[in-house]
Amino acid sequence: MTLNDLQETKAKELATRKKIVLRCCLAAGCISSDAKGVKEQLVKAVAEAGLQDEVEVRGVGCMKLCCEGPLVQADPSNALYIKVTPDNAPAIIAALKGGKVALQQADPNSPFFTKQEPIVLANCGLIDPERIESYIAADGYLALHDAIVEMEPKDVLDAMVKSGLRGRGGAGFPTGLKWGTVAKSPGARKYVICNADEGDPGAFMDRSVLESDPHAILEGMVIAGYAVGADQGYIYCRAEYPLAITRLQKAIHQAKRLGLLGAGIFESPINFNIDIRIGAGAFVCGEETALMASVEGKRGTPRPRPPFPAERGLFDCPTLINNVETFANVAPILRRGVEWFAGIGTEKSKGTKVFALAGKIQNTGLIEVPMGTPLRTIVEEMGGGAPDGGKIKAVQTGGPSGGCIPAQHLDTPVDYESLTQLGSIMGSGGMIVMDETTRMVDVARFFMEFCMDESCGKCIPCRAGTVQMHHLLVKLLAREANARDLAQLEELCDMVKNTSLCGLGQTSPNPVLSTLRFFREEYEELLQPDPHAVPQLAAKP
């Protein structure tokens, strides 16, 4: 494969495009409501109407408005059909000819779509994730060519530093700095790992990206491998994402066939292989050291850092480990320029962030907004507020490691620092909206149960501390706890936070701490009088 071949493939793909494209969402969410049947019937209806030469029915990735799936969008008319059933297929074809048909439609010009700034999701819902040509037609693998053929590894590292991209896994570590550290670490063998072990309750950003645009991840990883000097990559994906895994396998196979992966990429001496490792369902394997232990075939438990993976990681070699969304940002940065990327977002948080909007909100689905967008814009304008005229009470970000942001702080801009200040974290992108009917102690208990079940059992504070914290929360909800129990809960939160071995334990008290901070009265309402309290002595006359 050379640049010419790449351009030829693109031209050929564009030349075969038909006038009208019916894009049919084939991501896991829509498939679960029979999107495959919809696509089949659409193909059939097109054939019956004799429109094969004019209309293309294309299976695409996530079209973002997940709550209204299955979704079908027509190009160029832009009509977006929602809740499509296979029976609707003839009506959709009839509508193409200008007929007036009663089909449920969503407004593609609503704030949910117009306020988005797609970089990571740029190809989501547009290209066919199962065909590499579709990705190449959207300028895919151009950045890889530029990086390998025209740039030195040092230039790629410089670009990443200048872009200001920060890790999208949650902690926000500067990506350029991490790549630079791995590149500088001495070692004959180095590895690149993509962390696709997305496990936060309510989060599905990484799954959607993998299902909708798998080649973008591969391209990002190869560029990373070139920049840090690695020739082997691993994608660690959880087994609960079978569709993502299938599409990744297909993508790897196609990229290898075209010489974009494997030996001699773009006919250069650069080699890079990618293998998939499938997780067995442990949440803690999203923690980088546990993930690497799992890739090595060991029990997935974390180990103390330092040494950091950049210095000693997989098989004791320097290892670069980034999240799916981080890798998805790499190719667009190189293709569209560092300045363009650095111009988006806030001073300290550049670019965009993908969120999975879920919970008590009208429009659940996938959104990508520039950093610094106020939470209010996301939940009220884009999300359409709580359903049935309810009032939003809080927004939970960061999953079990994050916290609840109360409604009075909805004007907070979404960036790493602001969310941390409020006792939450950016996290990987799960955003759960809660309305007035949600009891915050319930929320805290739910997340504590999650952490308790998912603790790996290695260190005592997390293994036994989460059990005790969960027990106290259950006691509280059963109205059997008193002020001393609450004090004990707070003391445990502090202890587990400061003494646990890995991030899972250290952040497990966050949902309790943040709800205590903003909704303390809900805890106090549940308290019972202390039977052993020392009675107050009456003041002497």
């Binding site: 103390p304 308790m452 059992g457 260190c459 005592i460 501390g465 059990v467 202890m495 003494t499 071995l501």
Partner: protein, 238 residues
Amino acid sequence: MAAKTLTIDGTQISAENHTSILQAAKEAGVKIPTLCHLEGVYDVGACRLCLVEVKGSNKLMPACTTRIYEGMEVTTDNERLQKYRRMTLELLFAERNHVCAVCVANGHCELQALAYELGMDHVRYDYCYPKWGVDASHRFMGMDHNRCILCQRCVRVCWHIEGAGTKNVSGRGSKSHIISDLNEPWGNSTTCTSCGKCLLACPTGALFHKGDTAGESLRDRSKLEFIVNAREKQQWTV
């Protein structure tokens, strides 16, 4: 073999490069409480009792796995650390069924000794009273899961000193437990060499020699270190 100078609890000491804080402190006569650490095998930093404060870091560092550096300032003992250590012990006592009075390790149990030493005189948490069993299928050794604190010392000696790889951990979180082979009764294990190193390593009465009285079940842990030193450094004296 460069040496580094560091300060531990206000006293300046020097130690060999690449030693851990724990090792350096031990050489300087400062005792840091530990449970999962065992001389002779590598450290995992799991029990969190040896956490110390290091100036310039806002996180507590495990003394067993943190390497020293020039000019490091370490605090191994203060009110906050004591409180955390006592709480860790309380959590352990509440987690499984530790009843000293009827335990074979009574009087020479590291968990019990630490509780005395750190002044953990009562447990404020509700006991979990889990129903763990006893594996007495082995000819002359037994495993009482009720007394296990999951320090994984037995696992480490089994893999890295004996090289048998019989012991392992199964399950997650509070359901974690030590298993033999692929979760079979210990007596059925085909890999166990019955060397008894796990018994020497166990800090509590979880692993015991059948028929031993409390007075007889003293463990000479220096044997483990002796084996490792003899093998790796060709040193035949302790």
